[in-house]
């Protein structure tokens, strides 16, 4: 009963405030639509190019490489460098993105090392962008830092800025980092991007790991106090969780219900839930008899729900919404107008 009352109270507060927010937002511009491009080999097919033009995308966030910890050598190295065999779309400004695994800083919290790593990273970014023949004014770093690695990560960011004083810096921010800025720290960058996905545990349970509204709502109120201006990143990818013996066995990328339509191999147990009837290879994975596949897909309805929730709590309209990620398979799952529709929710 108490809980019920508290909910009522919350809704009442929301209702009272909603008109104020709406009136605030009326003067704001609609967020620009952007995408992440997150592959190791660049190939922009017809679908990707048309998504860029149709949505008047002016800025593309291009993953250049990851930085990983090499256990054997005991130092950080770049991994999965983007290979470019054809010209990159010239209608967009490119923002190079570098993904840094948390263990890079966790295993090596030394600040001199972080500074050295910043210099190496800077060189490689410039070298690659030069090879692509493209100018850039901003760099984005993506690192799910924790309290233990934050110090070294922030040293890295400061050092990178010292080497590149004219570049704008941005960094991805996870929900838990928004909620606890005092413990987690705030990265020394110009803007952040709120990663509004991968918020739950990857499991066989009923909730989705990509998007869990209940979990998200716990964090959202903290948005208004976050000290950085935040762009918004929303998911348009889907994956399958392969469950064997009740345990997560593998993640199946780029998959949706079309892959599980063959009833000789699968029995649909519930929407998005399949039982493997017969062992077989599929898309490079081996599925055992008795395995289960849990599909995690983000529907257009979910995207609208996300936009609605975020809109309510964002202190001001985000300058852009970056969809993760630009890929023909992902695009095929939505109406072409979805990205504009989501942006216009703000």
């Amino acid at each position: 009963m108490v809980r019920f009352l508290r909910n009522i109270y919350q809704y009442a507060v929301l209702l009272l405030w909603a008109p104020a927010f709406v009136s605030c937002h009326k003067v704001q511009k609609t967020p620009a639509v952007s995408f992440y491009y997150w592959k190791t080999t660049a190939h922009f097919g017809r679908e990707e190019r048309s998504a860029l033009t149709r949505n008047q995308v002016s800025r593309l966030y291009l993953r250049l490489f990851d930085i990983v910890w090499n256990q054997e050598k005991g130092f950080a190295i770049p991994d999965g460098l983007l290979q470019v065999q054809e010209p990159l779309p010239d209608s967009v400004t490119l923002v190079p993105v570098v993904f840094i695994r948390n263990e890079v800083f966790r295993n090596n919290p030394d600040s001199a090392q972080a500074t050295h790593l910043a210099a190496q990273t800077s060189q490689l970014i410039h070298k690659m962008m030069e090879r692509f023949g493209r100018h850039f004014a901003q760099v984005q770093f993506d690192c799910d830092w924790t309290a233990g690695s934050g110090k070294a990560y922030f040293t890295f960011l400061r050092a990178f800025r010292r080497i590149n004083p004219s570049l704008q810096l941005s960094a991805t921010i996870r929900l838990h980092q928004v909620k606890y800025p005092a413990q987690q720290g705030v990265p020394p960058v110009d803007t952040g991007v709120l990663m509004y996905y991968n918020m739950g545990r990857i499991s066989n349970g009923p909730s989705l790991s990509v998007y869990d509204r209940d979990a998200a709502l716990q964090y959202l109120p903290a948005l208004s106090r976050y000290p950085l201006p935040l762009d918004l990143a929303l998911p348009v990818f889907s994956w399958g969780i392969l469950v064997r013996n009740d345990q997560v066995h593998a993640l199946l990328n780029k998959t949706d219900e079309r892959d599980y339509a063959d009833t000789a191999y699968f029995l649909q147990e519930a929407p998005g839930r399949y039982l493997v009837k017969q062992a077989h290879f599929r898309k490079g994975f081996y599925l055992c008899r008795g395995d289960r596949v849990k599909l995690e897909q983000i529907s257009a309805g979910m995207l609208e729900e996300m936009a609605g929730d975020v809109h309510r709590y964002y202190p001001k309209t985000p300058a852009r919404i970056i969809f993760y990620d630009l890929d023909a398979f992902n695009l095929s799952r939505y109406d072409t107008s979805i990205f504009q529709e989501i942006a216009h929710r703000f």
């Binding site: 190791t40 080999t41 190295i77 065999q85 060189q123 077989h280 490079g284 081996y286």
Partner: protein, 751 residues
């Protein structure tokens, strides 16, 4: 796929740098860390040649190669050996390895072209340089001029932070010219050894230039040069890689399986490269097999790779006596053992099932494995029935079916195991099963267990040498027996087997333990239990003294602490009778101290003060100091080391204690407040009253920290700070106002 891909790839067929300079071999002593959660060693029956493919939950491979990435130096030794033999040079001639693995293209070129007099003195002395006119040696250097020039294609990066912009390293005119020259060399030569090496260079050059058509065409055209050698298998491996790139997975995987079967040196990379994509290409690979043995090889890889149950069934159907079944059987058992009953449970959690089986495994998985093994074991036609009976017995045990397990273990015992570890493995599983059935723990069962437990104890000292996975099994047995004694109400024996801090809550129990340890009249079984109990009588005395002290039984505490030898007495880091307005343990520990108190000194001093309080002597000061002493003994005070001991552990904070009782002891402010109240009553003036009132507020604040509040959101602790207002005329009040931020805030708010 791109060059970059291979830089990071372990698919060494692609990255095999024939002339690699560096050996990067992540070799070394490797200790399986599975012995806590596994009781079944594959080494007890499966052949050592398959060691890297034993089940390893955390790394791609088991054993010394658990995360070897030695893709470029993998074949260096073989290459050098081949050339030493060809050139008829002794192993002591290190120049062969030098020219092959270290020398630069320029240096080789000089040696090949320049007269001896123009070469550096260090080279002039070498046999190979002096005998360059020898036909074979001359061919060696000529070959190297090509091979070294080919090298940049295959070699991994020296500079990880470099970026090669052209993923497809296309053949340039000079490369094509070199391949043509090598092809011409092949036409001229009749030397099979040289022909094969040129063949390798050309296939590999095409491969890295990503000209897979040319690679495969050249491979097919010269197939007659292939023999059974390891070197030839490397050429075939490039062809498999090229097929894979062309998405001809069926043939690629078939070739990988053949290489895996024929060349142990290639197994790691073949297994890693083997990767069926769709059911159709997997069936195609199977259809390519010409014999039963080839099909077995295919299923073996598939079994390692993914489905050992299905692979066992298939191989068994082809040849029940196949020794390939051993490896898959070990994987089947180890994977079943590692399967968890609940999603996300870690190994620790799984080991907590104390009564019943060793670990809580997935029931479906276990049932399927048992059903398969029953079928095979009953037929008695495998080549090593020992392993099958033992494995099935263990699976029954995991299910909790001790009788089924015994039948299988008895059957296994009739065979002599092929591996020396087999006997110990079976023995250990029998002991686990015996423990499982010893439910009552009566004298008879104790006697039956005694020699077995002593065997475990003795073996636990040398498991690293034998690979027997004993440590988790031994802890499990101890935990199980402990639980059984606990259920019988024999808490002493329960504690001897598995330690629980709560045992020492009770003074009588602790005394009983001390007596047991000191007893000269223990039975052999009791002596065994005493030998596994990790604490001494004085360890027990220390924890008894700690409990007595917190319970304000000071004379008893002094007596008990006196039993702890001086060498084990802890010196408290700060003055335990001090109490500041704002707690600062570091300051207390750093402050100069005239007297350093050991725990015993401290307790004696407290006892003295207590006597004074009871006698009404200087009650204010004695009660104040006693209050401070109890304050400092608690988790909020400067003498936390008072409650640290062998049994309570090196614990600072209450939440780290695995006992509510001990948590309560060290959190409680009750004794401190009790003596401070006595001091308050005895106070002679407002200064004294102000001080005690404030120190009592600190106790209340600590209680608030301990218990929290309804909302947990107060900015300052909701305690009666206003009680200090009565003393606003004192100096102490002013000191509190300036030092205690909470109080200052409180005062400001009220204004």
């Amino acid at each position: 796929m791109t060059l970059q891909y291979f830089r990071k790839s372990l698919i060494a067929f692609s990255a095999v740098a024939f002339l690699s300079a560096g050996m990067v071999w992540a070799c070394g002593w490797w200790e399986p860390d599975v012995s806590e959660s596994s009781a079944f060693a594959p080494e007890s029956f499966a052949g050592a040649q398959y060691t890297p493919f034993f089940y390893e939950p955390d790394y791609p491979f088991y054993g010394d190669e658990s995360y070897s990435t030695n893709s470029s130096g993998r074949f260096d030794e073989n290459v050098v050996q081949d050339w030493l033999t060809y050139l008829k040079r002794p192993e002591s001639d290190s120049s062969v390895a030098y020219f092959l693995l270290k020398a630069s293209a320029e240096l080789i070129d000089s040696v090949y072209r320049l007269p001896a007099s123009q070469l550096p003195a260090s080279l002039q002395g070498m046999y190979l340089v002096q005998h360059r006119s020898n036909k074979k040696i001359s061919s060696f250097f000529r070959f190297l001029t090509f091979a070294k020039a080919n090298e940049p294609y295959a070699k991994g990066p020296d500079d990880y932070w470099g970026y090669d912009p052209v993923p497809a390293r296309q053949l340039e005119a000079s490369d094509i010219a070199r391949i043509d020259s090598m092809t011409a060399e092949m036409k001229r030569s009749k030397d099979a050894f040289l022909l094969q090496r040129y063949y390798f260079q050309i296939v590999r050059a095409y491969y890295f230039a990503q000209d897979y058509d040319a690679c495969l065409r050249f491979y097919e055209e010269h197939k007659s040069l292939l023999d059974e050698s390891l070197f030839a298998s490397r050429i075939t491996a490039y062809s498999a890689g090229a097929l894979y790139k062309q998405k001809k997975f069926g043939m690629a995987n078939y070739r990988y399986s053949r290489i895996f079967a024929q060349h142990p040196e290639q197994r790691l990379v073949a297994e890693y490269s083997f990767h069926p994509q769709e059911e159709a290409d997997w069936k195609e690979s199977l259809a390519l097999c010409r014999t039963g043995e080839e099909r077995i090889g295919m299923w073996l890889l598939m079994g390692i790779y993914n489905d050992e149950q299905r692979a066992i069934a298939e191989i068994y159907r082809i040849d029940p006596a196949s020794d390939k079944l051993d490896l898959l059987l070990s994987r089947l058992v180890n994977i079943t053992e590692a399967s968890s009953a609940t999603d996300g449970a870690d190994r620790q959690q799984r080991n907590e099932g104390k009564d019943g089986t060793f670990i809580a495994v997935n029931a479906d998985r276990l049932a399927a494995a048992i059903s398969l093994l029953q079928h095979i074991t009953e037929a008695h036609n495998t080549h090593q029935p020992f392993a099958w009976h033992m494995a099935l017995g263990y699976l029954y045990f995991l299910k909790g079916d001790a009788r089924g397990a015994t039948t299988q273990f008895d059957a296994a015992a009739k065979y002599t195991p092929a591996q020396s570890l087999g006997k110990d493995q079976l023995h250990m599983l029998r002991i686990m099963n015996l423990a499982l059935t010893s439910v009552e723990m009566n004298k008879e069962q104790e006697q039956a267990l005694l020699p077995e437990l002593e065997w475990m104890q003795q073996r636990s000292a040398d498991t690293a040498r034998t690979r027997l996975r004993l440590s988790g099994a031994y802890s499990w047995i101890k935990g199980l027996l402990s639980e059984r004694y606990r259920r019988k109400g024999n808490l002493l024996f329960a504690e001897l087997y598995d330690q629980d801090l709560n045992f020492y809550n009770d003074a009588q129990r602790a005394q009983q333990m001390k007596n047991f340890i000191r007893s000269a009249q223990l039975s052999p079984y009791e002596r065994y239990m005493r030998s596994i109990y990790p604490y001494s009588a004085s360890d027990v005395a220390a924890v008894q003294a700690i409990v007595a002290a917190f319970s304000d039984r000071l004379p008893e505490a002094v007596n008990l602490m006196s039993e702890v030898p001086e060498a084990e007495q802890v010196t408290l880091p700060g003055n335990p009778f001090n109490n500041r307005i704002q707690d600062c343990h570091d300051c207390d520990h750093a402050a100069p101290q005239k007297v350093k108190y050991t725990r015993l000194d401290f307790l004696k001093k407290m006892q003295e003060m207590r006597a004074n309080v009871d006698a009404g002597k200087d009650v204010y000061n004695n009660a104040l100091l006693l209050g401070n002493a109890f304050y400092n003994m608690s988790v909020y005070g400067n003498a936390r080391s008072f409650y640290q001991s062998a049994i309570t552990g090196e614990i600072n904070f209450a939440e780290d204690f695995a006992s509510d009782f001990f948590r309560g002891l060290i959190l409680s402010q009750e004794r401190a407040a009790h003596y401070l109240q006595l001091a308050l009553k005895a106070a002679a003036n407002d200064e004294q009253r102000a001080k005690i009132t404030y120190l009592l507020l600190k106790c209340k604040r600590n209680d608030y920290y301990t218990h929290g509040s309804e909302t947990g959101a107060e900015e300052i602790p909701p305690i009666p700070y206003a009680s200090l207002y009565a003393f606003s005329n004192t100096r102490y009040y002013q000191e509190v106002l300036s030092e205690c931020g909470y109080f200052a805030t409180f005062v400001k708010r009220k204004k």
